[in-house]
């Protein structure tokens, strides 16, 4: 995190997994915690499937450029999302992924943490649909200045009333996964790969288009 309290988060997966909702809830919570926040997203034209990603920037200062280049914290909920976005995490940053969906490979310089988000949603909560909220609970556990109350409040405000309890339990389950993992207690299906030696980070691909020279240069 930089001096201005800037935290850049990227949440990615496939369309229909609730990626945009998870990011919006996170942004709600950041706003409730009194920080500046911008949330953006990109997705394909498909309603289901296709790559989906959303970004949240939190800062103590005004946020100009609204997009994330290299994230401090990445969450990947599909293999395709992991392959595309995990490397767009800054050196020393953390990549959280669903260990049941992603065959991860080592990415030099980043800390990788696989947790069984989908399994937890299906087996502990009986609802695959809350996988996004389980993973959000886990992600927020890595942001020390974000009060759990703010996240709970944000989830409660965004989901239909009859699903409020289920979603709050999902958040708690996500936090618990991190607690156990950080305490070194084995979780079935979890994987932890700490980065060994910070290798140089490849810059994100960002090629401007080639334009003809401007008229006054012709």
């Amino acid at each position: 995190m930089a001096d201005d309290g800037r935290l850049e988060v990227r949440v990615s997966g496939s369309g229909g997994q609730g990626i945009l909702l998870a990011a919006a809830v996170l942004a709600d919570a950041v706003a409730a915690a009194g920080r500046e926040v911008v949330q953006t997203q990109s997705y394909g034209p498909e309603a289901r499937g296709g790559a989906s990603q959303a970004e949240v920037i939190a800062s103590l200062e005004e946020i100009d450029y609204p997009e994330v280049d290299l994230a401090d914290l990445s969450l990947c909920l599909s293999q395709a999302a992991f392959d595309k976005y995990a490397r767009l995490t800054r050196a020393g940053g953390l990549v959280l992924y669903d260990s049941g969906l992603v065959d991860e490979m080592e990415i030099p310089g980043r800390r990788l943490r696989g947790l069984p988000f989908t399994d937890t949603a299906v087996h502990d909560l009986g609802a695959k649909v809350v996988t996004n909220i389980v993973s959000l609970g886990a992600l927020c556990a890595f942001v020390p200045w974000l009060p759990p109350d703010a996240v709970d409040g944000a989830v409660a405000a965004r989901v239909p009333a009859r699903f409020k309890d289920l979603n709050l339990r999902a958040l708690e389950a996500g936090r618990r996964l991190v607690e156990l993992a950080e305490a070194g207690i084995a979780i079935e299906g979890a994987e932890d790969h700490d980065a060994r030696g910070a290798a140089p980070v490849a810059e994100a691909e960002d090629r401007p288009i080639e334009c003809e020279p401007c008229a006054d240069e012709r």
């Binding site: 953006t40 034209p45 450029y65 609204p66 401007p208 334009c211 401007c214 008229a215």
Partner: protein, 384 residues
Amino acid sequence: MPQPRKLVQGNEAVAEGAIAAGARFFAGYPITPSTEIAEILSRRMPEVGGSFLQMEDEIASMGAVIGASLAGVKALTATSGPGFSLMQELIGYAAMAQVPCVIVDVMRGGPSTGLPTDPSQGDVMQSRWGTHGEHSMIVLVPSTVLECFTLTVDAFNLSEQYRTPVIVLSDAMVGHMREAVALRVEDLRLARRGEPDCDPDEYDTVVSTLDHILPRPDLGSRFRVHATGLVYNRRSGAVDTSDPEVAADLGLYLREKIYHHRDAIVRVEEVGTEDAEIGLFAYGSVARSARAAMKAARKKGVRVGLLRPITLWPFPTGAVDRMAEHVETIIVPEMNIRQMAWEVQAAVAGRAKVVDLGRVDGRLITPAQIEELIDREVDHLRAR
């Protein structure tokens, strides 16, 4: 008591701005990335006693909006590039018949179906010249979620005041972005439709002047109302396509009623322009990248200033003039190829070098791209 900040999406802020401005009619056809505006207004309009119509297409949507406005209700539609193209003929009708209304275009990559979910600024010229014939247009460009709200309100006010269609030119980035804002309804000043300040019997003999534009009386009111897309006599309202003087009078009036009030209509934000050696001209979502690039350059000791048009049309010639007087170079980053850079170049008229930075791949121009260009131009200046 200060209103609490809430996380709001740009499109949501447009919808709430329309409600706050007193709009009580929406007709539209959903299209990414503007759909949320229709979706939200389908719920909000009935809540405030307004009407929401989903039409069969964008042509019909624009027709319904004009009809509602003629009947006395503040009305809007929202669309994106393909739908905006379909609306153009009737936007011309609204300009010709002087019908106040607001069109929100949330720009996406084009032409045609293009990049439905990605941002672009490819419609900046279409917003000005998309409809045929000589006409004037007021176009406002939001750069933040808060501006999506305030500029929608401004759009309604300007459209009522000048009896003209006004376009809010948003883009997929600003429209889908969420920021924490407080939408303060109590601070707003709203234009009211009102009636012409003359006796209904005298209405045929009273005519708007550039300094006194009569409100459009509603259909069904005490006034005899005629709306037509044909050339009409500005005094009687009667169709007259045979008299060149009548046509010239109307044509020039439709243009001048906006340009005469240019100083009141045109708004820009100028940051760090007083001492700048390099200027940035950037609008909408790209202005956010430009501001970040400006701050980074100033940290390195390069005097960069930002001119951000809030009103894109009428073009802010005066502000560009001021900038051209003392900067060496003006960089114009935009998500199209040189559409506004040409306009800047025309206004600069050789007083400074104009460098364009275009991007049409559906991605927002980054601060790094602009910084790179600033560095290059600084090297050129220092090498002289």
